[in-house]
Each structure stands twice: as structure tokens, then as C-alpha cells.
Amino acid sequence: MSSGFTQVSGWGQTSPARTFLRDAQSVKELHNVLTSVGRRGAIARGLGRSYGDAAQNSGGSTIRFTDRSFSFDADRGVVTASAGATFDDIMTQIIPHGWFVPVTAGTRQITVGGAIAADVHGKNHHHDGSFGNFVHSISLLLASGDVAELDRSSHHDLFFATIGGMGLTGVILSATFDLLQVSSAMMSVRTERHGDIDSLMESMLRNDSAFRYSVAWVDGTATGKHLGRGVITHGDHASSDEVRSNHKRPSDYRSPTTIDIPPFVGAARSVRRSTSLLFSELWYRKAPKLREGQLVSIPSFFHPLDGVGHWNRLYGKNGFVQHQCVVPLDRDDVIRSILQRVSSDRPANVVNVLKRFGEGNDAHLSFPQPGWTLTVDLPVTSQLSTTLADIDEMVSSAGGRHYLAKDATTGSHSIRGGYPRLGEWQHIRHRVDPDQRWQSDLSRRLNLCATLKETE
């Protein structure tokens, strides 16, 4: 009954799926895999860095497109990459030539397919928008087995339905996107420490437009008048003048090495409340009140967590939920209420990130929209579902929404409310996948691919 099934989960390690995990190295192999997909359908998977159940399909197939090749035009700053190519590989190749990816997530370990399907955003969203903004064209394998070439002029509706479409319009085979020119492999950073959330948000609003990158770490354990105290880091790519004294040219970039957390760690122990209190206190104290012009490397600015492989195991065997929402700018009260809710539960919480988003784009299910986005890491405990239900209610009633690439718990009605263009997206999807060949645990949980009669 069970032959060939593997257990896979998202980065948060919650709700693992038993799925038929299959690798395909070429379009021909993908076609072969597709012919044997049954009623439970199939979903593409990149490196599994989405936190919840987006890249898994219980009882059905989960397909990894493993072609990692890409080509790079060093004169024009354009990359054409297979969907399986990783940001890590691409960055290692392009930075020495003075180019950078236009958007990077908090980890380099994601694929081009995953970056498009989740329309990932980075610390530069207020300045540049999300990854989809830089994509020229996408080659998409459709449910019919045909390959469609999508761009802003031909099949533009399917192009935008695929950006942020969580793999539910087809398997992305390759894409072409623009790069950002940089003159060094270093970042020039300004760090500010703030004793409470009001001063932190106020400073962010006032100053972030002067920097390409901007983000704040917020202490989720602080309460009372220290609620939401934290550290803002603003940054820009350092100019060649700034780094001259430092001798760091783009060509000095190396993909850093990592240490790994072995599997047994998660089983044995997990992040404790005491650890998180200690971490938060130290992290806050170690930040200067104000420091400008500090030069730091690209990995330590963008991907500090990548220094420790499998850090997700530290949260223990029940896993953790990374909750990310965005609420309109004038609803900063919701950010305060969420922090209050989180700190009153006293969880073992360490990573909370606050940022201001800029304009959204034309992709139907793209997450970023103007406002405050807050990300909180919460280990799974018996109270967590109630906490999250309360938070979701706050987010929904403020006209906010949840990030599908992180979601593991939100209800389908919050998603329907948060994504007003879902119905439009479902129409486009239905046209190219009437038989529901593309399905994931996420799509079932949130009823994303509801048959049209249900939504009309």
C-alpha cells in the first residue's frame, strides 16, 4: 500500500507529508513523471525553504526539478536560469563580476523556481519591490504537458498568476531576470538601537527611504515600556571607495562555509525560554545606540542564519511556525498588539523581524503590499493555535494578509479576505489546469484551487 512514499516537510518541520518524492533532471524526465501522476496531483519543490506546507503533497507527487544550470551575461547583467538553480550558486558566480541578485531572501539556499513561485521579497522591498519585478520571462510546464513562454506581453495573465502562484499554475522550468550592479562585495551599514516600538517605527519611517536595504530585529521577550525594543539595520552596497582601504573587491566574494546541526539535536533539546531571554538581551545589548559606515560582508548582512545549517532543528521535534503578516501603514497598532500577544505567551521566541514594505506588484497572489510586515518565530506548543487565531483575527480585521510561503496555520477565510484577487487568479488557474493536476497540502488546506462554482 505504501511503497515509494517519503516523508517531507517545510522548513518549520510541522505537519510532514507522506508523498511520492520524485526528481527530474530534464523536461523529458518531467514529462515521464507527469504521465504517472494520479488523482492527488503533483507540486513542484525547490529546496524546501518555505516554512509550512507549500512544497509538499500528501498522498500525491512532489517533484524536484534538479537542473541547477544557469547562464550569465556579465555585460548586461542578466541571468537565464533553470528553475532548480540556487541563489547560492548564482551569487557565487555573479558577485565577482560586480553584479548582485535584485532581491535576496534571508537565506541563499532557495531556488529560482521557489523565488518566483513565492515572489520573494528582501530588505530592499521598500526601494525595489519583490523578485517578480525583475523577471522578464518564465518558461512554464503546463498541466497539458505543453510548455508556455510567459512574459509581460504574451500570456501576461498567466505570467502574473505564476509569480507568487505557489507552484499551482505549473512547473517553472526556467526564467530570465535582471541583476543589480554593485561595486564591491561589502555592505555599508548603519545600526540604530531603539528602546521601544514607537521610537523604532518612527525612525524607520523617517529614514528607510535613504537606504536600499532596511530591516529591524525586534525583541519578542520585552514587555511593558520596552515592548518592541529592537535594532534597525540600514544598508547599501559599499562603493569601491569605501572598501578600498579594506581591499575587498567583488572578486573577493566566497560562498561561506557552514556548521551543521545534526538531526538528533532536535529530538534531544529545543530552544528554551531561558535561552531566548538570554539571546534577546545579548542581541539587544550588543547593538550600539548608533553606528554608521560599518562595512560588513554580504553573507553576514543578508544571510546570518545560513552560517548554521539546519538551525530549524533547534526548535525541537514539534517544529515551529514562522508567522508573517503585513498590515497597512496606519495600522501600526496591530504590530503592537501582536507583539503584546506574543510576549504575554512567554514563548521561546528569538527571531522577529519588522520591515516597511513599498508598493506591491501586478501578481495576483504576491504577498507584499504597502505597510508594516512583521515576522515572528513561534515553537509549536499546546497554546499556539489559540495565539495564532487571535493574531490572524487582528491581521484580517485590519485589512492585512499572510505570507503563503510561511503559512502553516491560517484559515481559508483569512486568506480569501487578505487576497482580494484570489478569485481572478482561480479563473486563470482553472483555464490552464481544469483537472486539478497541481495540488499541494497548502492548496487543500486553504482551498486555494476551489472549483469555481464554490467561489462564485
Binding site: 507522506r18 508523498t19 517544529g319 495564532l388 487565531a389
Partner: protein, 251 residues
């Protein structure tokens, strides 16, 4: 689908007005629960029950007659049609009956076995294949200590539960490694509607205790749950009593 915190979105209860069944069901209802299906004979009472759930939950009350062996499997297949998974099925419908009434009417005795054994087996069988295809799911089967060693003064009910209990355990073995788990609940005498007016047996319990023990067993992945626990010991002794003694045991 299950949510990341392990909560269940869709739950179906066969015996939609069963006191124990409902009490168990309520322990699994949480903020992520979106849909409850109550399959019951008396849809008017079913509707009254439906109204007690939180507003965000869609409760479908479906008319269901246990003696119609196709009815359970039909409901299960209907649930699978809309591409949303069934996370938990609770099989709770049963008839206790009076042994004297069964003796007076052999057809009634046969019917009790249809309700207590044949019908749950049909529904279980349909649920098992559907959940196997989903790759996940939990099933709770309401059995009884009466089926562990059948007393002569309770032989129809006892034998019918015994059949269901052994089928469910064998099915659980078959489902090893499919992601589908079965929990068989063996309560003793449970105070409640079904036993109203009866003299309680030793170690009597109540629906709330059965429900929380069942919930914990499902969470821990245990296959059999005795309520109260001591009955496991009691029946370990009963099982080995020589028949010359056992045949004289009355409630």
C-alpha cells in the same frame, strides 16, 4: 488538512447525535476547524447539535441510516470529492438493546449486528481507502469492554462489538505505514443517555472522561484505549477465567 499546530480542519462523526461521539469530537475542535459533518438518523436533533458549534465552522447535518450499508461509504466518498481532506472520522453509532427483546425477536438481534458491526465495517473500509489515498488521517472507533469477553446476558451487543473491535485492530495493522491511524476505544459502563435508568456496573465512567482519554490516546498514537484504565487489568483477569466461572457472571 491538519494545520501546522496539529489541528484538524475536517471532522466527520457517524452517529451525529451520539453523546460519547460528540463529546470526543468537541475535544478536537479548535480555531482551525472549518468543517464538521454529522451523519445521523435524526436530523432535527442533529441540527440542534449543529447550532452549538462556533460560527466559523460549517456543520453539515446529513441524514444517515446505519442499516443502509451503502450510506456510510457514500458520505465518505462525497467528502473526498471536493479536494479537501477528511482529517478525522469518528464511528460512534451503536444500539445497546435488551437481550430479552433480542430473544423475543431474532430479526431485531440481526439488525443490531448490522448497526453495530456491519455498518461500521462498511464505513471503516471506505474511510481507510480514502485516507490511504490522502496519505494521512485518524479514525476513532467506539468499541466496548463488552466485546472483550462476551457475557451471556449481553451476548448480542457484546458479540457485535467484539466483531467490530477485532476488525478495526486488524485494519490498523493493514494500515501500518500509510499515515492513517486507528484508535479503538473500549469504555466500560458510561453514564449517559444510552444507559439511562440502568444500574451502573463497577468502574462506571462518563462521556467527558472517555473523550479526554481518547483525545490523549490519539495524540500519543496509541491504538487501544481502556476507560477507565483499570479495566484493562480487570479484563486481563476476565479473559483467563475458566468458563465455568465466566458463564455465571452477570452484570
Amino acid at each position: 488538512m491538519k494545520s501546522g499546530t496539529g489541528e484538524l480542519q475536517t471532522i466527520a462523526l457517524f452517529g451525529g447525535t451520539s453523546e460519547i461521539g460528540l463529546t470526543i469530537l468537541r475535544t478536537f475542535v479548535g480555531p482551525s476547524t472549518e468543517r464538521i459533518v454529522l451523519a445521523c438518523r435524526d436530523t432535527v436533533s442533529g441540527q440542534t447539535v449543529a447550532d452549538t458549534f462556533a460560527e466559523h465552522i460549517t456543520v453539515d447535518v446529513i441524514e444517515w441510516e446505519a442499516r443502509d450499508l451503502a450510506a456510510g461509504p457514500n458520505i465518505i466518498s462525497m467528502l473526498g470529492d471536493d479536494n479537501r481532506d477528511v482529517d478525522l472520522v469518528i464511528i460512534a453509532a451503536a444500539t445497546l438493546g435488551e437481550q430479552s427483546a433480542f430473544d423475543a425477536d431474532p430479526v431485531l438481534a440481526g439488525e443490531a449486528v448490522v448497526i453495530n458491526t456491519a455498518s461500521p465495517i462498511a464505513t471503516l473500509s471506505a474511510t481507510a481507502s480514502q485516507m490511504t489515498a490522502q496519505g494521512h488521517g485518524n479514525i476513532i472507533v467506539l468499541s466496548s469492554v463488552a466485546g472483550v469477553r462476551v457475557r451471556s446476558d449481553n451476548r448480542v451487543y457484546g458479540a457485535s462489538k467484539s466483531g467490530l473491535d477485532s476488525y478495526a485492530l486488524a485494519l490498523a495493522n493493514e494500515l501500518d505505514d500509510t499515515g492513517v491511524e486507528i484508535t479503538v476505544v473500549r469504555p466500560g459502563f458510561v453514564h449517559g443517555r444510552m444507559t439511562d435508568g440502568m444500574k451502573p456496573a463497577p468502574f462506571a465512567t462518563d462521556p467527558a472522561t472517555v473523550a479526554s482519554a481518547t483525545h490523549n490516546a490519539v495524540a500519543a498514537g496509541r491504538r487501544v484505549v481502556w476507560v477507565p484504565r483499570v479495566l484493562q487489568l480487570v479484563f486481563a483477569v476476565f479473559r483467563i477465567l475458566p468458563n465455568s466461572i465466566w458463564r455465571r457472571i452477570r452484570r
